[in-house]
């Protein structure tokens, strides 16, 4: 037996875990609440229930117990046991049990001398001084009619030359009503034109930007940790580009207003690898491109009439292609259609049915994935995205069993995920178009196909990638601030000696050993060895 003394130490720690009778706020509950909930649950933030001291937490005790047990809170949709992403906001089962026991015992205060300190929450940028700050030109007034609002704002960058982006940080103006924000880049002026055509500031658009897109930037949800690209890696912001921000304003019963801003940080070093985007959508972008061409601005009906007149053979799924072509054309600038994308059926979700789609994307060169963004609408229920290499080895990328449109976002992997040439990326999605889906926007249900409206559906997996380089697997895509979940083996939100003890206990084990646990194999090479220790050491502390 290796490291017996350390094993005994760990055993003692386990034996010291508190029973139901002794759980108190001061000792046990305050660190869980303050480190997982309070960043959003304090005055002026989106969480309505303030949780900054004993009396506030105790006053909401029953609700805290309820929403942690059913894992509605903290809001984090990807399954952390399937794949790991930066900024995971999840409680461990033992933390959830502690809360339950504490509430059942009458939420005792205990010794406040043992209370965890409230974290210091940044009031300005979490990253430092931005190189470019783009602010909404004027406050936007929401209607206050208890309906969701999705408004696109066009923020001109005025850049004289293209610049490489290191990080993008969305800063909500009114944190109570800004639910999430999607960011993209337009270089055609279409979005500006859209704005001019509506009387209000910005323009309303639910499913997308209603404009051709040159790039998709990292999205914002409350509690997001801004992730800076690794050294030499970045995204290009073209000269004179317009930044598009689609803000989702939560349903609100009275009028309010918001004036949000975006901080942009440029690369100090020269760009070695530009971040590209690949996507899984229900149709082959290549087919559409081949069929319609880059028809930007031209009337689809007109194109089809011309094709018919010329005697061209029309594809059997023409209706789908027409629906899809409009938004696909918007995405052409942003997405590199690496390979033909196949889906096993037409993208139609019949009324009163639950429907599953399987999409596949073949990767034709070695690449490293940085992040994955998922998008579907209100009928969406679940996602599973994974890669299988030519040898049959599987890499799990993301799984969501309880999709919530309100909590969509992009998920950055803790490390570059290598996808070898010849791999297939599979996406399995399920939609519920029955009356049992309370979010169904059609009552009674009607058959739904592709479209950008609330009552339509979408299926989009967009993945940021760079061409693979030797050693990418060891590059941690660490958040600029905050704690790194990956080596927090005991889940206490600290990267400390206890984690080292657990790591040391597993040192030397290989895949196939009875005790082997992949979470200690930080570089995923099948062995917990010195290379993992180097990664551990780099992430240690804080």
């Amino acid at each position: 037996m290796r490291l017996t003394a350390l094993s005994i130490l760990a055993l003692l720690c386990a034996m010291a875990s508190p029973s139901a009778q002794t759980v108190t706020f001061g000792e046990h509950i305050s660190p869980i609440i303050y480190n997982n909930c309070t960043s959003c649950h304090r005055t002026g933030e989106i969480g309505a229930m303030p949780l900054t001291n004993y009396s506030e937490v105790a006053a909401h005790a029953t609700m805290i117990q309820h929403v942690t047990q059913n894992r509605y809170m903290p809001p984090w949709k990807p399954d952390p046991t399937y794949s790991q992403h930066i900024g995971e906001r999840t409680l461990t089962q033992s933390e959830i049990d502690l809360i339950r026991n504490w509430v059942d015992a009458g939420f005792p205060q205990g010794d406040l001398a043992l209370e965890a300190p409230l974290p210091t929450f940044p009031t300005g940028s979490a990253l430092g001084t931005p190189d470019l700050v783009l602010t909404m030109a004027e406050p936007f007034a929401i209607r206050g009619d208890n309906e969701d609002q999705y408004q696109v704002f066009v923020l001109p960058t005025g850049l004289a030359e293209p610049r490489a982006i290191a990080a993008v940080e969305f800063r909500p103006g009114n944190r109570q009503i800004v639910h999430h924000a999607l960011l993209a880049v337009d270089i055609t002026g279409t979005a500006r034109q859209n704005d001019l055509e509506t009387p209000e500031y910005g323009y309303e658009s639910f499913g997308g930007f209603d404009s051709p897109i040159a790039a998709i930037l990292p999205s914002y949800t409350p509690g997001t940790r801004t992730v800076a690209f690794p050294h030499g890696v970045g995204q290009i912001l073209p000269q004179n580009a317009d930044l598009l921000v689609q803000v989702h304003y939560a349903p609100w019963p009275i009028a309010e207003s918001d004036q949000s801003s975006v901080n942009i940080f440029f690369k100090k070093e020269s760009l070695e690898r530009e971040v590209g985007l690949i996507a899984i959508v229900p149709f082959s972008l290549n087919d559409i491109k081949a069929f319609f061409g880059n028809f930007g601005g031209r009337d689809i009906e007109q194109i089809i009439a011309q094709l018919e007149a010329s005697g061209a053979e029309l594809p059997p799924n023409l209706d789908d292609l027409i629906d899809f072509a409009a938004s696909a054309n918007d995405l052409f600038g942003a997405i590199n259609p690496m390979a033909k994308i196949e889906i096993d059926s037409r993208f139609v979700i019949p009324a009163r049915e639950v429907k599953t789609f399987r999409g596949t994307l073949t990767i034709d060169q070695d690449i490293s994935l940085l992040s994955i963004y998922l998008h579907m609408h209100l009928l969406g229920q679940s996602w599973e995205v994974y890669a299988v290499d030519p040898q049959g080895n599987r890499t799990d990328l993301v799984r969501i069993s309880d999709w919530d449109f309100n909590w969509q976002g992009s998920y950055t992997f803790t490390h570059f995920q290598k996808i070898a040439a010849g791999s297939k990326i599979h996406a399995v999605t399920t939609y519920d178009n029955t009356i049992d889906n309370p979010l169904n926007p059609n009552y009674p249900p009607r058959t739904v196909a592709w479209g950008e409206k609330t009552t339509d559906e979408m299926l989009l997996v967009a993945m940021e990638y760079v061409p693979y380089r030797q050693g990418d697997e060891n590059i941690a895509l660490a958040p600029s601030v905050g704690y790194v979940a990956r080596i927090d083996f005991d889940g206490d939100r600290q990267r400390d000696f206890d984690d080292f003890v657990l790591f040391a206990q597993n040192f030397g084990l290989s895949q196939g050993d009875a005790d082997f646990q992949s979470r200690f194999d930080l570089n995923r090479d099948g062995r917990v060895d010195f290379a993992d220790f180097i990664i551990f050491a780099r992430l240690f502390g804080g």
Partner: protein, 175 residues
């Protein structure tokens, strides 16, 4: 047509017209929490229901059972979300216990003899916390208030309110 006939027609018409506005004396207790997002959401619905149904005979009363709900906090919430009815504090849970509310928002409608005739949700907007129906298909409180105003006899009915659980008073002497 004689004058007697005309009088009866007139009297009948007055009763018909007035009938829509005359509701038997009832009270609608609305349990609310100013830190509960679901309570906040329903302030718009409550304003609309109040405008449509409230009268001298049908009174709305907001009840705030959370122990953090100070008179100042309640007044601020009432003003910000424009609640058009009086709001009372229930930190000792006298109303909670008497009317059996467990969640905010939850409504309890009582008749002139203080007997409950409805307890539960305002409507079915929320399937569960965080799952907001895009098409509301049951307007329970409006149905009850309609029935009262139409003098339709009602037997006690209960639905499950969805919202923020009312934390019971502490059962240990910790503070």
């Amino acid at each position: 047509m004689n004058w007697r006939h005309n009088i009866w027609v007139t009297v009948g018409a007055i009763f018909l017209l007035a009938g829509a506005g005359i509701c038997a004396p009832h009270k609608v207790y609305v349990f609310l929490g100013e830190t509960c997002p679901v309570s906040r959401h329903y302030t718009l619905t409550l304003r609309n229901l109040h405008a449509q149904y409230a009268s001298e005979e049908l009174e709305f009363i907001g009840v705030f059972p959370n122990r953090l709900s100070t008179p100042t906090a309640i007044a601020a919430f009432k003003e910000k979300y424009m609640l058009p009815f009086s709001c009372i504090r229930d930190s000792a849970h006298a109303w909670v216990n008497r009317l059996g509310a467990t969640v905010t928002p939850e409504v309890v409608v009582v008749d002139s003899s203080n007997a409950a005739i409805y307890r539960g949700r305002i409507d079915n907007t929320f399937a569960r916390v965080g799952k907001r129906r895009r098409v509301v298909t049951a307007r329970d409180l409006a149905d009850v208030l309609n029935a009262i105003c139409n003098n339709t006899p009602l037997t006690f009915r209960q639905t499950q309110a969805i919202g923020c659980f009312i934390t019971p008073l502490q059962n240990t002497a910790q503070e």
